[in-house]
Symmetry: C2
Subunit: 205 residues, 2 copies
């Protein structure tokens, strides 16, 4: 199946700025993208990167400077299509298989906090809206156009990497280069007040 | 299968104190427990509540005042046994079916942040350790005793309700009385700086 992978190549992962500088955020975002593309290809699918600027990768890509919602909707005319976020650093071929083989005119994989981390669209009238609590908007949109909805219950698809705390999950569960990148950058797991956190070599905290 | 459901009836859900007072935390924890027990029973299993104090419920229960790890290990001699946390307010029969039908001498359902939200134990030498990053400890313990490990990839099993931000997931995904309880207590979803949060009637924030 054709799988759109939106990627912000300009200002990626700004919420990681407390722990990664600008160059590091670009590099880490690029490594997560490569992990996601590799998993999609191993699962037998054809990713198309939809980026806000040029991306140097061997996977087909297009540049679309418009907002995420507009850029994705412009490419949903081909059905079925899927949309998988570029920061699902814990994704596996099993999780992708479950997503893409699930029945339903619209298949959604919820993210923590009401996001929509992955979607399959098999209904011509469905469109995305990534602003706000997108999961609710997508359920509502599917109802409006009369599309059946299936929700995929996957921990790995629910984990997008936005905040420093999300790096815990990458170190615990990531099988790809993003976890390697973090370890080489000095990140490791630690415990603080009964919670698992990340620390970086040199951190005095 | 016999399913142990540990429950802190004394000081439940202390991390929810910024949004729920003491009586409310007791009531909400009790409603989540009832939801989990109902799902386990609908899925055809026999829950046993292992509580730190008396619990008024129709499900069989025992009081064990010892720490969680000790109280659970004292009851793992019967194999297979399962352990399901009492605060999995988004759990469904489908998720329980996937957990309890998964192969493996030890089956784990990871929680966000390195916890172990649910376990199936089919190996006589395996024991739990809920202190710290329990998921890693459980992987390690299984390796040590030579038990095969399976990880269940479930968003619904990964969501335990500890912090105020977790209430977002209950309102979005909960099918049980916990979601009803929150709505009746005045909680609703809102957006703040691009993130989905909960607000409570009367909140001025």
């Amino acid at each position: 199946m054709r799988v759109l992978v939106p990627f912000d190549s300009r200002t990626p992962k700004t919420r990681l700025s407390p722990v990664l500088d600008d160059d590091e955020r670009h590099a880490f975002a690029r490594v997560m993208l490569a992990d996601v593309l590799a998993v999609l290809q191993r699962a037998g699918h054809d990713p198309l990167v939809v980026a806000t600027g040029p991306v140097d990768c061997s996977t087909p890509s297009v540049v679309d400077e418009r907002p995420l919602t507009t850029a994705v909707n412009a490419r949903l005319d081909e059905t079925p299509s899927a949309v998988v976020m570029a920061d699902l650093a814990m994704v596996t071929t099993d999780a992708i298989d479950r997503l893409l083989s699930a029945d339903g005119e619209v298949v959604v994989a919820p993210g923590i906090g009401g996001g929509t981390n992955a979607l399959v669209v098999r209904h011509p009238q469905f469109s995305v809206d990534y602003h706000g609590t997108s999961l609710r908007d997508h359920w509502e949109r599917a109802r409006t156009v009369g599309a059946s909805v299936t929700t995929v219950d996957s921990f790995r698809l629910s984990l997008d990497v936005d905040d420093p705390q999300d790096l815990v999950e990458v170190l615990l569960h990531g099988d790809g280069d993003a976890a390697v990148w973090l370890r080489e950058a000095g990140f490791r797991l630690a415990e603080n007040d009964g919670r698992t956190v990340t620390m970086r070599s040199g951190d005095s905290s």
